[in-house]
Symmetry: C2
Subunit: 215 residues, 2 copies
């Protein structure tokens, strides 16, 4: 196979999403974006065309990567769906917020002097970007990520099947902000590859390598 014919068009999502409560407050999570940025860097380094859909993170865009910045899960769905339309592979490393405030207040939500000490924030489910895009993926490669704090393998395996992805990368919350991670890569047939305490750059290269196996 010539180098040119092995060049793929790859979409990577990275970082957290932010779900606005009012003009200044939001819900978010600890994702640093490092895993997704490492995948984008590894894919570009391997000669692929890469679009990186990034939530709010403090990271520099890797060389030869097209970056699209988004904030909310809904923005990320729109940008990712658009980019995946003409792509061969999708790596969903972003930590997409499962929930968002039911309504965004136009004015800053203030505490009045007579208000009680308790309040409730009403939430609605965000779109499931992975399931939504994997459903119509056809022969294209889709790799999801699962962040699990308890016994995670069974749950990640169910997620893989429910969502229709080709692989699920299972990791723990300690991986979110660090430069190294321990991950388990699960495929649809129940096979797993464990990478213990490896640099994210190394895990990223292994994940990009999944595109070859899909040939």
């Amino acid at each position: 196979m010539s180098p040119k014919s092995s060049q793929r068009t790859v979409v990577v999502t990275a970082g957290p999403t932010r779900e606005a409560i009012d003009p200044v407050r939001y819900l978010s999570n600890d994702s640093s974006g490092k895993m997704g940025f490492a995948i984008a860097r590894a894919a570009a380094g391997a000669g692929h065309r890469v679009t990186l859909i990034a939530g709010p993170v403090a990271l520099e865009t890797p060389a030869r990567v097209r970056r699209v910045d988004v904030l909310s899960a809904r923005d990320m769905l729109v940008a990712t769906r658009e980019a995946f339309r003409s792509a061969d592979a999708l790596f969903m490393a972003a930590a997409v917020a499962d929930w968002r405030p039911k309504r965004k207040r136009a004015e800053k939500w203030r505490k009045s002097r007579h208000e009680s000490e308790l309040a409730t924030l009403e939430l609605v489910r965000n779109p499931d970007i992975l399931a939504s895009l994997a459903r119509r993926k056809g022969p294209r490669l889709v790799v999801g990520f699962a962040l699990e704090t308890g016994a995670g393998i069974a749950r990640a395996m169910r997620k893989l099947k429910d969502k229709g992805a080709d692989y699920i990368v299972l990791n723990g919350p300690e991986a979110l902000t660090r430069d190294r991670a321990s991950v388990t890569i699960l495929d649809r047939f129940g096979a797993s590859t464990v990478m213990q305490n490896r640099p994210k750059s190394q895990i990223a290269r292994a994940l990009v390598g999944l595109m070859k196996e899909a040939d």
Copy 2:
């Protein structure tokens, strides 16, 4: 007055706070920390001893400033109270979260397959750091900040009196992430100074100058 006798011990708070929902999710706000860091830099540049209590921000510590990193409002209260004990002035530029989740879940809060599309997050009021510290400030200078999205002067004036601060700096949400801001500095007697679209470094020097007027 000799330079030495005009040296003060100054505490500055900066940035947002993060209020944990579970091991990975949190509530926060858009504060970049730039205003507080500018005040710390200006105060250190004027020869004062500065402790900067910083929420999670991506900013470098100014030269000759002692920095204490915190996450939650409760952590910020503890660190600020401790630093203010031996200080002459407090600048509360942090955007402290008014609310936090009633309980932090030990495990990641997951969506089950049978769960409804709606959820509620129960919140409790955070401690009011400004009011709590201004109450026992004695002759020391305390400068608060008010972020107002509507007609804010009357509300900021009430905040100044309710909380017992010496000054309140009123600004809008557009000031949170930018390098410039438009602020109104209100004192307890109803006098106000307006600074329109100025670099935060210039506003910071004006605020540090309030310590001289307090002599």
